[in-house]
Symmetry: C2
Subunit: 255 residues, 2 copies
Amino acid sequence: MSLQSVATTWPAIVENHDSAGPILLVCEHASNAFPAPWGQLGLTEAQQQAHVAWDPGALALSRALASRLDAVLIHAPASRLLYDLNRGPDRADAMAPRSEVHDIPGNIALSVAQRLERTEAFYLPFHSRLHAEIARRLALGRQTVLVTVHSFTPVYHGQIRAVEFGVIHDADGRLARAIVAAAQQITPLVTALNQPYSAADGVTHTLRLHATPYGLVNAMLELRNDLIATPAQVEGMADQLAPVLLRALSLLSEG
Amino acid sequence: MSLQSVATTWPAIVENHDSAGPILLVCEHASNAFPAPWGQLGLTEAQQQAHVAWDPGALALSRALASRLDAVLIHAPASRLLYDLNRGPDRADAMAPRSEVHDIPGNIALSVAQRLERTEAFYLPFHSRLHAEIARRLALGRQTVLVTVHSFTPVYHGQIRAVEFGVIHDADGRLARAIVAAAQQITPLVTALNQPYSAADGVTHTLRLHATPYGLVNAMLELRNDLIATPAQVEGMADQLAPVLLRALSLLSEG
């Protein structure tokens, strides 16, 4: 049960490490990789490409934002169906046996030993790396704003979602409210606070684990994935959202 | 600035790792060791023995409790004047330049590089190990109750403290209140909630970092150190407190 007993762990992927901006971007659902020896969990190729396996477009948008904001980016190395890094290991949906309308055959009836193995392979390395990044920035006296980047499906359980840009927060809603205000001022996006989910749905684990204990301002961005489906859409969205984030930080520092 | 650049880190010390009880004991101020190459920070021998360097008696009490409660114990490998593991790296008192009435010469005017070095040497290894312990227990479905063990000086800034046993909590006060109730029922200890400090004083960092994000019930125990100054006192105190903790857990599970 020691970390050393796990032959291979999948560390977080870090980009723009030497960037100087205040924002730390995190993309927990960046990847639809199913690396060996874990395999594809019995999923079809179509399921591996679909939103159940990852947040399509979220990594591309994160990279485009990181470039515009001079921000470090930390993202997931593997599919959230292997381990959903935005859930604690006590949560059934950390290794979901069913997601929306899809059964996940390789996640049904996991033993506690299998849950532990995945926790050690994916969850602990990712969050240790993110924690180290935050602790080092704090030791250096660097301003640190935690922003996680997600996408959501336009149709969920048969329901069409009208919201285009959701902004979610954990205990401290200051940044999220400022982002919503800025987006409504300078973009045409249909923007809403705590939509399509909120902290009450258990979706703010990363914020709760890393931002709230240090009093870091934080927000979780949710983009409807049909709006970031092509490289051109991603660049256009980043062109809209980077100024929104900068204006929101400016609003906070004035307030 | 990577972890790999630090030649030596001081990991947390883990005892009773294979214990089966629900309580996870943590003693962040267990040690008054000043290992090479850090040195004694210019402190006198008397200062190195005093409460500014550690919580005298807290480790002995933790061990006596761990034995009675079948609990794992995670404790600090070095003095809190090198790094106070119950403080984030953004806090000046993580590497305090002054503590109570004592200047700490080796902590005055630390550079950010020096603060980073200590953060990587002490803070990150300790909290990574503690986080791993908690995550593994959660993956295994084990009940986990986080209890930190501290001692306080009977005289602080010239004021005598009448309280003998203080119980402090972070956001969730259920366990702390149950411990106070149980102690008042079955011990003669002068017991108080959120004394001699409270979360508002920034003393619940470990609880906030590890218990609150997972919804773990938690408490910080503070014993007046003149009551745990000898091995016999420590054993007697553990004989009193172990039943208090068990009764408090029982009260919670009934409530």
